[in-house]
């Protein structure tokens, strides 16, 4: 069965006690032998796989963004070089900016909700007894294991205007949840957050198990409350994981696709509810304008770099480069 929790009193010390200054910035990894080939050997498989498999598609994406590339080009018609026209069209299109703004807001709200709720669930997992913890974590894994398409469809049923449970509970037959953009994004947020929490919760929980129990105990003996312990011990220790998770959630929520797409088919007004992920898809697959799709994809990448700039910068700082 499951054993040990960090909160269990009298648990044997999980790791040797080390003097980690609670509030100090984590020290950068110290250089090992300067000219070692070992790190290169270790990263070789990654570099090879990424370069060999993804190299060509990514280069093509970049090239396509400068071309007039449609269905005819897929079937061998030579592509015409049009420079930055694909980008210019996007920039000049006011609708693109609307979609962009909408996407940024949606992404921000969803990341904040997913992260804060996910961390709370992780803390809950950490302080539950073993049986309850197994129950909650199994529920989470069940939610997580549900295929995205199936989960979205079930949620859409819940908010269906004819036979939806939501309308049944509130006794509002025929109330349309998806036709209005605001409530559309409300429903979308529920689905995205619901699907996003398990991963965050599990990862943070796994991270929590790395926090030395005796450190918390010592702090507790020194009179630090739960909030203070969380703020000054747990957060600094989990900082690398929390930052990665925030960055990853930002990337995923920024290009959210399935949930929006399914809800649009079920009644959302596409023009008022398009986010960048769906819009890019409409351009590339829907209208077979792969050039414009590639340009939109590249713009998305640049935007995501900007969104995660804080994260990138702290990474560089940490590395002293």
């Amino acid at each position: 069965m499951t054993v040990t929790t960090t909160t269990e009193p009298g648990a044997p010390p999980r790791v040797p006690v080390v003097p980690v200054p609670a509030t100090a910035e984590r020290r950068p990894p110290r250089p090992r032998r300067r000219r070692s080939v070992l790190p290169y050997v270790l990263i070789a498989p990654t570099v090879i796989v990424l370069t060999v498999v993804l190299g060509y598609p990514v280069v093509r994406l970049i090239v396509q963004s400068g071309q007039e590339y449609g269905m005819a080009q897929v079937f061998g018609t030579p592509a015409r070089w049009i420079g930055f026209d694909n980008f210019r069209h996007l920039f000049e299109d006011r609708y693109f900016w609307t979609v962009l703004r909408r996407t940024t807001v949606f992404c921000f709200v969803n990341v904040v909700l997913t992260m804060s709720l996910g961390v709370l669930v992780a803390l809950l997992l950490n302080s539950l007894g073993s049986k309850m913890r197994l129950l909650v974590s199994t529920s989470l894994i069940l939610a997580w294991a549900m295929p995205a398409l199936t989960a979205t469809v079930v949620w859409q049923w819940i908010f269906d205007s004819e036979y939806g449970l939501a309308n049944w509970v509130f006794d509002r037959q025929g109330e349309s949840w998806l036709a209005d953009p605001m409530s559309f994004f409300g429903v979308a947020t529920i689905i995205v957050v619901w699907m996003g929490i398990p991963f965050i919760a599990f990862t943070v929980y796994a991270g929590l198990s790395q926090v030395p129990a005796d450190l918390l105990e010592a702090a507790s003996l020194d009179g630090a409350g739960a909030v203070a312990r969380f703020r000054y011990i747990v957060v600094p220790m989990l900082k690398p994981i929390l930052m990665i998770l925030t960055a990853l959630s930002t990337l995923w929520d920024f290009r959210v696709f399935t949930q929006i797409y399914v809800l649009q088919q079920a009644g959302g007004i596409s023009r008022d509810t398009n986010l960048l992920g769906v819009y890019t898809y409409q351009l590339s697959i829907g209208q077979s304008d792969y050039g414009a799709g590639a340009a939109a994809a590249l713009l998305m990448i640049v935007l995501m770099c900007i969104l995660t700039l804080g994260y990138l910068r702290s990474m560089f700082k940490q590395d002293h480069i």
Binding site: L42, L134, V136, P147, A206, I244, A297
Partner: protein, 274 residues
């Protein structure tokens, strides 16, 4: 029970209920006739129900072939991704070397590429290598899409293990590799599982690449096979879809339950031995 415990347990139950409700609804629907799936008077119990949807799932052509394909692709993806990513994560968090930051940034940027924009190009690459309709081809595709994420998360876990711990073990006379295995690996194990489960779910449920790469009927994976219940304009056999989805979720749960026990046990051992 202390009041604190009661509050915690109640919160736990609430979280479990919210997480489970859509799952429960999926299972419930899998026992319904098509006409009863959406109804003005919803019922919350599966009775009176039908097993017909499950019969359709198991009797439908290629179910077992698709299951086999999915199992192979997923286990290949997960095992290779974990090994490759773990090596890279160790290199990144334990060494400073030229090109380290470049690698980090590349890996992060790869995360940002919208997969929808790469479908046709990926197909072209695999077609050139004669890997269309092969599990190797699909596994390679999944590998590049889960690798960056796996590396990033594992890097966080490896860094979460204070380097001083390893140093302390080395002072105690352990070799570097010995210290690493005895101290770092057990502490990273939960991270390996969390990322492993993530990679597993990604690979197990992925649809669009599987659709274009595995085109022959005998090479379909489960998510693509599941779409056979969707007849486009003719509507969708939701009972079949939900029964199929339920069946599909079982291996994931089983895997999680096995791993979950193992890892907590391993953790405990690690803690005791220190």
């Amino acid at each position: 029970m202390k009041p604190r415990r009661i509050v915690l347990n109640l919160t736990g139950l609430l979280v479990a209920a919210i997480a489970l409700f859509p799952v429960y609804w999926m299972v419930l629907t899998s026992f319904r006739r098509g006409i009863d799936i959406q109804s003005p008077d919803p019922s919350f119990i599966p009775f009176p129900g039908t097993l017909n949807n499950y019969r359709k799932v198991f009797e439908r052509d290629f179910f077992w072939t698709a299951t086999k394909n999915s199992l192979i692709v997923t286990s290949l993806t997960v095992s290779v991704a974990l090994i490759v990513a773990f090596l890279a994560a160790v290199a990144i968090s334990r060494f400073r070397f030229r090109g380290r930051t470049a690698l980090l940034v590349t890996v992060l940027v790869v995360q940002m590429v919208p997969a929808e924009a790469l479908i046709v190009s990926m197909f072209r690459v695999l077609d050139g290598w004669q890997l269309i309709n092969t599990v190797i081809g699909l596994s390679l595709t999944y590998l590049v899409f889960v690798l960056p994420f796996t590396i990033w998360t594992l890097r966080g876990f490896v860094e979460g293990v204070p380097f001083e711990l390893e140093e302390a073990a080395m002072v105690d006379g352990a070799s570097r590799i010995g210290a690493f295995r005895r101290v770092t690996l057990p502490l990273v194990a939960p991270g390996l599982v969390a990322t492993g489960v993530f990679a597993l779910i990604q690979a197990w449920n992925e649809f669009i690449f599987a659709l274009v790469i595995m085109q022959r009927p005998g090479s379909k994976t489960l998510p693509v096979w599941l779409q056979e219940f969707n007849e486009g304009a003719r509507g969708t056999d939701w009972g079949g879809v939900m029964a199929g989805s339920t069946v599909m979720a079982i291996p994931v749960i089983v895997f999680f339950l096995i791993v979950q026990r193992r890892v907590t046990a391993g953790l405990a051992a690690g803690a005791v031995k220190g």
